[in-house]
């Protein structure tokens, strides 16, 4: 069984960006992140800090998965939308197709109803692109797996002191 992959080419990326931008313009949300259900960022718009987007994506996907499980415990198949209300910012999370989520943050410049309305429309448009990108072959398109270390400890001196020589690979 090969690893299942989501392969996004430049046309797909452009298409996703256009749809997210259209959603932001019509809903007046602050930012939007398209998230794979495994917790990875597929694309984000309106939000500069990429690494915070990664944390948001991981946590939002987990929250959605947990509430999905809660839904089953009370006899529902899933909750299709999650909404978190804050004092300044609110979050709206909805399903995109079978394997992705759309996270939208918004403040008092718009309303939950407007965000919900346009998120449903955006989800439908985005699902086509995301599902089309799933399961494509990556054979021959990716770099060789490096033979050496991919990640190194910051302090080699400390590494020697802690005895990495005690490790073994079989």
């Amino acid at each position: 069984m090969p690893l299942d992959a989501l392969v996004i080419y430049e046309d797909d990326a452009r298409s996703i960006t256009e749809r997210l931008d259209a959603f932001l313009a019509s809903s007046r949300a602050t930012f939007a992140i398209l998230i794979d259900r495994s917790g990875q960022v597929i694309a984000e718009r309106g939000y500069a800090q990429r690494r915070a987007a990664e944390e948001l994506a991981a946590l939002a996907a987990a929250a959605f998965a947990a509430t999905e499980h809660v839904a089953r415990l009370i006899g529902e198949n899933a909750f299709s939308v999650l909404f978190h209300q804050g004092e300044q910012q609110n979050l709206h999370l909805s399903i995109v197709g079978e394997n992705a989520l759309l996270l939208a943050a918004f403040d008092d410049r718009t309303t939950l109803g407007l965000v919900r309305l346009y998120a449903a429309e955006a989800a439908e448009n985005l699902a086509t692109v995301v599902e089309g990108a799933r399961g494509r072959s990556t054979e021959g398109l990716l770099p060789d797996s490096p033979e050496g270390d991919i990640f190194r400890r910051q302090s080699p001196d400390q590494g020697a002191a802690t005895g990495d020589t005690g490790t073994r690979e079989t």
Partner: protein, 196 residues
């Protein structure tokens, strides 16, 4: 679920640290977070109880720059080890691309290791994932403690499938073996992805 974004020249993969309660999964991520250059890591997110036991998961995003022209992101997760949290363990496994199974080397924890590995197989099965084709490595942790089982015995308990996988001895709080296991799984995931 790995994603490859050609527009951004980015590859993103999900690696989960699995194992029984108190075997050292969170300690692995904490050590990595403390000892990796700032340019290669994001923040460590821990969803834990007041007693510092993992409640849902820990999350640490890493990125390796310029591997064949791509930035490769590895998103590291742990699962809660306590038996009662099986539902959350299963949720974290969704879309996993590679696994580090952390085994506690103490004789007294052999049974827990075996049960945790069996639990892993069961939870993978819920998603239709097959351990025999999924990249994974074993990490025999707590090798500094006095009452540890020999590695060949640990192999006998959790590395006895037809495909023998790489195993690493480790002392996670001091970092011994931590980066070896991390690099081992990252290489396997990338190699697997090349043939997908």
């Amino acid at each position: 679920m790995a994603s490859i974004n050609y527009a951004r020249r980015e590859i993103t993969c999900k690696v989960v640290y699995y194992g029984c309660a108190m075997c050292g999964k969170t300690t692995n991520l904490e050590y990595i977070h403390e000892h990796i250059p700032a340019s290669e890591k994001g923040g460590l997110v821990s969803l834990s109880t007041q007693g510092d036991r993992t409640l849902f998961f820990d999350f640490l995003p890493l990125e390796a720059h310029d591997i064949g022209g791509f930035t490769v992101k590895f998103q590291l997760y742990t699962v809660p080890g306590q038996v009662v949290y099986n539902a959350t363990r299963r949720l974290v496994l969704r879309g996993v691309d590679g696994l580090v199974f952390v085994a506690d080397s103490q004789w007294s924890r052999v049974r827990e290791n075996i049960e945790s590995f069996a639990n892993l197989l069961e939870n993978l099965g819920q998603y239709g994932y097959d351990i025999d084709t999924l990249p994974y490595v074993l990490q025999y942790n707590k090798r500094d403690l006095p009452d540890t089982a020999p590695t060949h015995y640990l192999d006998f308990t959790v590395n006895r499938r037809q495909r023998r996988v790489p195993s690493y001895e480790s002392v996670a709080p001091q970092g011994a073996g931590v980066f070896d296991a991390l690099n081992g799984i990252c290489r396997l995931v990338l190699a697997k992805l090349r043939t997908a």
